[in-house]
Symmetry: C2
Subunit: 573 residues, 2 copies
Amino acid sequence: MTEWQERLAARLEAARGDRPADLLFRGGNLVNVFTGELDAATIAVYDGMVVGFGERRADEIVDLGGAILSPGFIDGHVHLESSLLAPVEFARAVLPQGTTTVVADPHEIANVAGILGVQFMLDTSEAIGLEVFFMAPSCVPATPMETAGAELTAADLKVLARHPRVLGLAEMMNFPGVVHGDPAVLDKLEVYQDRIIDGHAPLLSGAQLDAYLCGGISSDHECTLLEEAREKLAKGMHIMIREGSHSRDLHALAPLVTARAAHRCMLVSDDCHPETLLEHGHMNRILKRAADFGIDAITAIQLATHNTARYFGLRSLGAIAPGYQADIVILRSLESLQVVRVYKKGKLVAEEGECLLPKRITEAKTQLLTMNLEEVTEEELHIPVQGQRLRAIRAVPKTLITGEEIVEVKDHLGRAVSDPERDLLKLAVIERHQGSGRKGLGFVEGFGLKKGALASTVAHDSHNLVLVGVDDSDMVTAANRLRELGGGLVAVSDGEVRAQLPLPVAGLMSAASLEEVVAQTREVNQAALSLGSVLEHPFMVLSFLALPVIPKLKLTDRGLVDVERFAPVELFV
Amino acid sequence: MTEWQERLAARLEAARGDRPADLLFRGGNLVNVFTGELDAATIAVYDGMVVGFGERRADEIVDLGGAILSPGFIDGHVHLESSLLAPVEFARAVLPQGTTTVVADPHEIANVAGILGVQFMLDTSEAIGLEVFFMAPSCVPATPMETAGAELTAADLKVLARHPRVLGLAEMMNFPGVVHGDPAVLDKLEVYQDRIIDGHAPLLSGAQLDAYLCGGISSDHECTLLEEAREKLAKGMHIMIREGSHSRDLHALAPLVTARAAHRCMLVSDDCHPETLLEHGHMNRILKRAADFGIDAITAIQLATHNTARYFGLRSLGAIAPGYQADIVILRSLESLQVVRVYKKGKLVAEEGECLLPKRITEAKTQLLTMNLEEVTEEELHIPVQGQRLRAIRAVPKTLITGEEIVEVKDHLGRAVSDPERDLLKLAVIERHQGSGRKGLGFVEGFGLKKGALASTVAHDSHNLVLVGVDDSDMVTAANRLRELGGGLVAVSDGEVRAQLPLPVAGLMSAASLEEVVAQTREVNQAALSLGSVLEHPFMVLSFLALPVIPKLKLTDRGLVDVERFAPVELFV
């Protein structure tokens, strides 16, 4: 007998009752995702697998006293990088919330570090309690208007396709490229023609949507309108209803989940900021939100377990039944959805909100040190006056969309400088991947800083170094501090660092725990407020000022971009 | 651009409306399997694919005047051999009934001709209009109590697994072997561990069922009781509700199909006798039966299209939507379920019950000539008297179960012979695969023949040559006629062949059309009746007298088998 057969033979013995099970759950109520019913159940587990329903001998008996047995929650679409946590810490954060599996799109780290970044995520997400599958990032770089750290070609994607935890091609954001048959996009679609290809097609409709679907795209998580989701569902897309930290669509899409259409829907987070994870949880938070919007708890659990597992072809996940992996969440009740205990492959991994796995450090040597730039000098940030008026970006709270304002230049010795009186602040984006020294300079309104500077290496989608400040000297201090740290967020004033959140993993992720990351996030935000910021999430706004795919005016390392015209524009008008 | 990309690019053009579609269906009502609703729809087809919903330019416009557009029907479990038709003729028979795809288990031909028989089915089902997928036969031979024509080992099954139209491992009939971890069964399960494994587990329940599921088996088509099906569904099995020519379970299982559990159910035929196909149809017949038992038509269609395609991972089948293969059935109405037209990959293949594909002959040279036995002589059939009483099989109408009777021997010159006065007839099973000359001899009650003999090479599961008769001479004539024909069914009296159905393809299938096969079937049955048979389906009863897995007493080429004791027994008592 092979090892596989010996293992199966032992499981069969436990299933038959001829060998004691490892665990027996008694007195629970099972969320049966096949029938959609709640059944009183006794569940036997052996060697990480559910081996049977009903009484059996067992080494350990857990009396549930009427608690709920749910399959472990699955997040079908998440960018781990948004949590600022390395995979091992993300796992520690979400396991106690009932999440046992995620399907991640490592799009952010791929923009910084390419296939090595994706490989890092694969390596550091192996055997961490949480089961982490990946979709291969489809659109790196996102645009030619900025300098990303890397490119993922169809050949790279072919290499990734062979990894056993890569399930398909991640959200195909370049929907015009699919619809119009862009050759580079067709290359990628061909590589993944027999695999799952996730979509990303906000408001795409009619014949354009039809063409997108003909390209082989089978899901969408960007629906924000009920009618939009209805069209996509009727045309065969699996609808991932997103309820992230930032983008939240349940309020609009909950009515989509009818008895007849629920089988085509999933619940996903897309992005999870560390504060959300700490204060509200992960998929358990989303399940509660679903209940708030009138989706019954059993259906919501189906959308966060069985439906997702079936969509991705994860045959042994998403249900509690003989032959399924024993990924089990014990909930106090269906009403509270409160997570009491979490079992992964039959092992107790979390209890009453605490992760029971031993601490593991994301090793510095495996971290991606990606701050490839020379020390920044004040001179680099100088903007010689070339006219009396310039075009400034207007930051708008709670949206990624910006405005464009034509304003008078403040001239200081022939240089255009910040004018906090008018809330006009200097903005810089410095290329940090290739050591090119390339930078874009401009101005932003609406930040509110009265002094000092803020800097970040989280800057979508290319994650260059972005700086905003009243004072060139503080901006330089901020930039160089991040250079030393390997990336992160920092607030500086009067030549001193006031607070910092180091993100040494590719300039995107911390190696610290969720609690530490949240504490540091609060410190840098508090520091930004004390410098006068009028924004609720100043670093988040900063991180999107460099994203040249959302209107109107953005700044990249190549200069200002008029997104509506998808063309570079001059600073001075 | 690769050829694949050029083809996709052209489809995208048609989807966008930048190139005329091939076909546009206007004025139809679409069975939307995603939403479970009926929607007024305009559907565009290009290059075999549905490319969009809504108006577009098209080379041909079909006005449906309110008719129904349904996805092509899929039979998820069928033994093509039961139809007695070679694949190309089966296709001609079922395409006009709306079936566009089947998943076949070539278990019968595998028992006769092993991997070559399966390869024959693969070869002759290529490009025949009907799309034919296969499951690799899991249990060949069925038992060690008889001589099959071949064995399929785990190594053979591994070879089959690589064929692009082999989807998984066919019904695992050896459920005791799974439950108890029989090493040869574990070998097969290991080869198919990441593939679909269909089940076959009549009345299996409790811990035994749990163990079976731990083996990786994911469906069952043998449920005959509602409670049985409920347990299996709740434990994660996909339930294939069978409504074949012989075994019909819809009456019992229809209540299983609730709004919440329908997604786990399918409709399948398992076996389709030629008369059923000609007189009542294929999946369209089963859909009508489902309606008779209160399943609404749209749900029934989901069970015969979308659910089956998803279970087998056939991503572009089972729905009418952009990016799906254009397998479309036009129905007069949901009430009548009458098939008007059938499109396969966008081509009209049947209209008003007529197959429009050009006739194709199953070539004699590719047929499997499997009658490997010497000419049969009367002497071989002689049974020297060795006692005064013998154990006779009792044939029971309308069931596969037989009885055992102890009866007085009729002694003629020291030989035990038939006694039509007492309806006691000689029965013989002659090994026909290996030329071994091995034979089993016995007697059967309940056939009713007054003279002559019947013979068949369809004899489950090993399909040896089975003979029943009043007269040794007629039995020999019958046997040798089948030897000449390469197999089939034959009725003989007074030294003359009265009727015959030649089955030259492995002794199981005809090369003729459905109409011819039905005519010949009626002739042999009529001839059997005229010889005195009191059975409604004498050849079907005959074909199961050699099946040593269903109680009580059966005859194989190795002699009489007491199935309850699973042991050989002597003829004379």
